[in-house]
């Protein structure tokens, strides 16, 4: 398993989760956990995903998500999970 954290931040609009999930499904990226909140009108989503079986390279995923985010008007980041584990877990 290769876990990554995808964060989506931006103005709330219809279909953000649908579009991101569709892309992940097409790329054979499995979603392990999703949490989402709206803070003062801003959409905040975090997904933990497994990229072990993806057909795409890591750089390709970053680039695709970036472009997808631009289309919806949100910012999408994908980072390897270790950075958060290291910082918040002893």
């Amino acid at each position: 398993m290769k876990k990554c954290v995808i964060t989506v931040v931006g103005k709330d609009t219809v279909g953000i989760i649908a579009k991101v999930c569709t892309y992940l499904a097409e790329s054979k990226i499995n979603i392990l956990d999703i949490s989402q909140t709206i803070v003062s009108g801003y959409f905040n989503m975090m997904m933990i995903v497994d990229i072990a079986n993806t057909t795409k390279s890591y750089d390709e995923i970053l680039e695709n998500l970036d472009k997808l985010g631009e289309g919806i008007g949100v910012s999408i980041k994908c980072q390897k999970e270790e950075i958060f584990d290291m910082m918040h877990r002893i």
Partner: protein
């Protein structure tokens, strides 16, 4: 599993609070490159650096992209060149040839700086040490990415005052040779006492003889993160203040530890140390002076500054030590003037003087750093400043350093612009009384006694 608050906190540190990994520095041993022939020594050096470090920059960029944390600099530190060039360099100009080779290798692999154009002369100077030291001004003039350093003293050996005297002259000469660029050569030249072998930060980085053949050292940063964290505990007790700094330092350092482990694994080079330093940049909000203000001072330099800095430095270490398996290098808060907007503001407001900075260096790393002084400052006065700092290091068993820039053609009231991470600085006044009779004595200051501490 990680929750959304934790993810948001980490990303906020990077996006809004200037959290970054300041440098991945690969230490490379060049001792085996020595030969009696200058050209083959240069070839050996070039080949070893460009082979070992060929993927350093790309690896740094990959790690930054995959984890979403900026890695600002990729650098190389090397064995002090006075040791490598001893057999083949008959003149100072021979050493300059090695400097040019190093510069070329640094350009080839794409690193930001290469440090280790150095001599360790804490007790005495060999002929090759002296040739290298005398070649520094020309080497810094004719290269772009070289950093030079000279260790003039240590707690175990005392202070080599002949080297201190010489370094005053070398700093002046470097300023003169690079006068067309506001004497910027001096920004790449540092005089140290108790220099560590594994420092990843420039200009004082070199790969000491106690080290492995190659090693990865990482310097973390994040004064902005500490400053923002302290905003939430305004008015609270020292206990709360210290706990907050420790926790923040822990988190910052963990990022460094992760980056260091990854870089080490991918490059196939052992992990050396994490340097737990708070390194400011000229960017707004990335300042150690701002932390001191947040702790409760009107400006850095006000009474209480030394105490606040001592507290800060100690808590950063306490938090950081637990976050990393190996800690080393300089490990402390840096207080460079030109690289810290808050420090610059304090100097311009008349709150911060060289004398106060000197007091601050007693409790933090590293020393009088990136301070622009009038171009007509005498060489012996600079030597006096170096001797004072070295004495603080020698007696307190800590690293201290001097990186002052006597900007030729400029005086009080003027400003000097270095650009990039080096920032800009107002010229600071230097005590005008003479110390030449002291500096001109020959020999060394004996090693201090390690008991009767008062």
């Amino acid at each position: 599993m990680i929750n959304i608050m934790e993810v948001t906190e980490t990303n906020k540190m990077v996006e809004k609070e200037n959290l970054d990994v300041r440098t991945i520095t690969m230490g490379i041993n060049l001792l085996e490159c020595a030969s009696p022939d200058l050209k083959s020594t240069c070839d050996n050096i070039y080949n070893k650096i460009t082979t070992l470090a060929k993927d350093l920059v790309k690896t740094g960029e990959d790690i930054a992209r995959e984890f979403g944390v900026p890695i600002v600099n990729k650098r190389i530190s090397i064995t002090p060149i006075s040791l490598v060039g001893g057999a083949c360099c008959k003149t100072s100009d021979d050493y300059v040839e090695i400097a040019k080779t190093l510069d070329k290798a640094a350009h080839t692999v794409g690193v930001n700086f290469i440090g280790g154009y150095s001599a360790v002369v804490s007790k005495g100077m060999t002929r090759s040490d002296e040739l290298l030291i005398r070649s520094i001004p020309k080497a810094l003039k004719e290269t772009e990415l070289i950093c030079a350093s000279v260790n003039v003293g240590s707690t175990k050996t005392g202070i080599n005052m002949d080297a201190v005297k010489l370094m005053g002259e070398i700093v002046k000469e470097t300023a003169h040779l690079t006068k067309d660029n506001d004497s910027i050569g001096c920004a790449k030249l540092v005089v140290l006492c108790n220099a560590p072998d594994d420092n990843p930060f420039m200009a004082g980085a070199f790969h000491g003889v106690t080290e492995d053949d190659a090693i990865i050292n990482v310097g973390v940063s994040g004064p902005g993160v500490v400053k923002y964290a302290l905003e939430s505990v305004r008015g609270e007790s020292f206990e709360v203040l210290c706990e907050t700094i420790k926790k923040t330092a822990f988190k910052i350092t963990r990022v460094g530890q992760l980056v260091a482990q990854e870089a080490s694994k991918r490059l196939g080079v052992p992990f050396g140390i994490i340097d737990l330093s708070l390194a400011p940049t000229p960017a707004i909000g990335d300042s150690v002076a701002d932390i001191l203000e947040e702790i409760g001072l009107e400006r850095a330099g006000a009474p209480g500054t030394t105490a606040a800095l001592a507290l800060l430095n100690d808590q950063v270490k306490k938090g950081g030590v637990m976050a990393s398996s190996y800690v080393g290098g300089l490990s402390g808060a840096f207080i460079p003037v030109s690289e810290d907007q808050g420090m610059i503001d304090s100097v311009e407001a008349g709150c911060l003087t060289i004398e106060k900075l000197e007091a601050m260096t007693c409790v933090c790393s590293v020393g009088l750093d990136m301070i622009a002084i009038p171009g007509d400052t005498k060489a012996t006065t600079i030597s006096g400043i170096i001797a004072d700092e070295a004495a603080i290091g020698m007696i307190n068993q800590k690293t201290t350093a001097v990186r002052v820039i006597p900007v030729e053609g400029k005086g009080l009231g003027e400003t000097v612009e270095f650009g990039g991470l080096l920032g800009y600085a107002p010229i600071m006044p230097v005590n005008q009384f003479d110390c030449s009779a002291f500096v001109n004595r020959k020999g060394r200051i004996p090693a201090p006694i390690h008991s009767f501490k008062n």
